[in-house]
Symmetry: C2
Subunit: 359 residues, 2 copies
Amino acid sequence: MSRKTPKPSAPPPAASPAAGAPRHRGRSPRATGSVTLTDVARLAGVSPITVSRVVNRPGLVSPDTAAHVQDVIERTGYVPNLLAGGLASKRSRLVAALVPSITNGIFVEAVQAFTDRLWDAGYQVLLGLSGYPATREDALVAAVLSRRPDALYLTGINHSAATRKLLLNARIPVVETWDMTPTPIDMLVGFSHEAVGQAVARHLLARGHRAFGLVWADDARALARQRGFMREVSGAPAVRVDVATVPAPSTLTLGRQGLATLLARGTPTAVFCSSDLLAHGALEEARARGIAVPSALALMGFGDLEFAQHTHPALSTVHVDRASIGRRAAELVLARIDGIAQGPSVIDVGFIIVDRGTT
Amino acid sequence: MSRKTPKPSAPPPAASPAAGAPRHRGRSPRATGSVTLTDVARLAGVSPITVSRVVNRPGLVSPDTAAHVQDVIERTGYVPNLLAGGLASKRSRLVAALVPSITNGIFVEAVQAFTDRLWDAGYQVLLGLSGYPATREDALVAAVLSRRPDALYLTGINHSAATRKLLLNARIPVVETWDMTPTPIDMLVGFSHEAVGQAVARHLLARGHRAFGLVWADDARALARQRGFMREVSGAPAVRVDVATVPAPSTLTLGRQGLATLLARGTPTAVFCSSDLLAHGALEEARARGIAVPSALALMGFGDLEFAQHTHPALSTVHVDRASIGRRAAELVLARIDGIAQGPSVIDVGFIIVDRGTT
DNA sequence: CGCAGCTATGGTAGCGATACCAGAGGCGAG
DNA sequence: CTCGCCTCTGGTATCGCTACCATAGCTGCG
C-alpha cells in the first residue's frame, strides 16, 4: 500500500470535474478539458500505468489500490480514450461489419447476432453500409481500415481486386458471409445459393411444374440462386422459364410489378421470387387478379421473413438461420483474434425448404 | 487517376526494405509492418506534414507535390491511421448512433439516412445497439464515448441520470430523436407521441367508436401515445378502454395474441395497436375468427411500414417521415460541428394519420 | 527599393494511452 | 540470515499523426 496523498501541485479536488487544469508549464497550450488517465493517477497518488491496469486488467492490481483508483475514476467521471489506447496497444477493440443495407431486413439479424456476441467479448462493431450495387465498397473498406479494426465482417464474397488487396495488406481476420466459395479471403460462414436454386427447382419439378416464372432482383447472390435453378430445370424436358428482372433492393411493390410482367408475357404455373418481399408482392398481385394460389399459380420466396407464415396462403420459402450466421462469424473472429484458430475456416450453415400454402 | 496498375509485387509492407524499415536505432522494437505516413514522406522526399496535407487538405499543397505524394501513397498502399490522427487532432470523424435494435424496422431508416448524410460529409457512424429495455444504455454510452465521437445520436429522450452526466461531460453535440420534450439534452428531432395518441383518439371518436381496445407494447414511447389516447377519450362520454399489454419488441404473433386477449375480455369496436406489426397480427387474428374489418372491428396501427398498404384491407395507421428524422438530425449535427449553429435546436417533424381500409 | 502579404513547406512538441522491463517488498525454504 | 520467487508498482520510450509556429520564396505596391 504505497499509496501517497496527492502531491501539493495537484489540481483542484473533486469539486469541478478537473477540467482544463494546467498540466505542464504555466499554461497548457492544448488543453482539452477532459479528464485523462494521468489526472486520475495524480489524484489517486499512483502511477498512470496502475490506473491503466485497474481499467483493463484489474487482476494485476491489489484490491485496495483498485478500489481506491476506481473511486477516483467515478468521482472524476474519467472515460478512457480508446484512440490513444488503440494507438499504443495496436488493438482497437473495434470490429468492422460491412453490409449492403440495414433497411433490408435480410442481413440485419446476422449483424445483430454478430454485434451482440462481440459486445460480450469486449468489442464494438463499426457498421459500414456499402449500398446495394456495392459501389462504395472500395472506399468503405479503406475508410473502415483507417480505424484499424481488429477484424472485418463482410457480406458476400464478390470483392474487387482493390478491396482484396487492401484486406490482405491489413492482415486482420476477415470473415465473409452469406455465400459459399472454396477460396475465401480468410474465413467464411454461409451457404450455397446455387444449391438453393437447385433445391427449389427440384421441389417444383417434383410437383409437376414445367412453366416457370422468376421475379428476380439483380444482385450477385440472387443471380447465383438463379443459376442453380436454371441448371437444374434445364435437365428436365419441356421446361419454359421466363424471368422478370427487378432492381435491388426488393420491395413488395416490385414483386407486384414483376408478376404483372410475367403474366403479360405468358402463363407460368409456378413463380419463384428471389426474396420473400417480392413473393409477397406477387401474392398480392395474384389476389388482385383473382388468380388462385396455389392451384392456378404456385409461389415461392426466399428468406423466410417473419411475415411469410402469416400471408394467405402462407408463403412457401427457403429458410436460412440468419442469426446463426452472425453468431458463428463472431465465434470464428474471436477464435482467430485470441490466436486459438489458425488457417482458413469455412462453415456451411445450409438451408431448409419450407413448404407452406403457396406451393 | 491511377497511373499504375497495382501490381501484387508492389512494395507490400512485408518484404520491402523501405516500408517497414527500422526507424530509430538498429532495430525497431515495436515494428508494426504497416506503412505509415512517415514512410510515405521519406519515399516521396517530403516532410510528414506535407503528406498529411495531401491526404486531408489537398488545397494547401501544390499540384505537383500532391500528385507525386499521391503516387507514392498508391504504390505503397498506405492507409492513414485515424486512431493516431484523431488523437492528435481531437477530431475522430466518428459519430455514434444509439438505437434499441436494428431488427425492428422502425428505427433503421432514420439511422440509414443519418449515416448516409454523414458519410457524405466525411464522417463514419458507429452503431450501438442498446437493447429494448435500454438496459445497456449506460454501459453503451460509456463504451461509445471512449472512442471520442464528434457527436452522438440517441433514440428516445429517456436517459438515466448517469447517462446524462456522461453526455454533458463529453461536451459534444447530442441529438435526441423520435420524441418531443421542451428540455432536450442538446438538440432534438422528433414528434409528440402524446399528440399521436390524441389524434388517433379524435379520429376514432369521430367515427362513433366508444368501445376501444389497445394492443400495446410496453416501451416508453408507446406508453406516451397511450397517455395521449387515454386523455383524449376520457373527455368523451360512455367510453370503455381495455388494454392488452405485450412485451417489446413487437411481432406479428404478439399482435394476434393481443387481439385474442381483448376479445376474451370484451367486444371492442375499434382496436388501436402500438405498431403496424401488432396491427397486422391483429388483422390476421380477426380474419382467422371471421370478424369483418372494418365493419365489425376497426383497426389502426402506427408507423406506416411498407406492408401497411398491402394488407387486406389496407391498414390505417400513422405515418412518420422516418428518413427525414435521420436526415435532419445529421444536418443539425453537422451544423453544430462546423460551429454554424449554437444553442438548442428542436425540430418537430409531425405525423399524418393515414386512413385506409381498416377504419 | 523595401516591406507587407501571400503561398508552399518544414521542425518541434505533444495528443493519451500501453509495452517492456526494472525494482521493491513479502514470504517460505535452506 | 540469506536466497529465490512471486506479487505489485513504477519509469521510460514510444504508437502515428496533427497543431502551431517559423521560414523561404515570390508578388505587388507605394
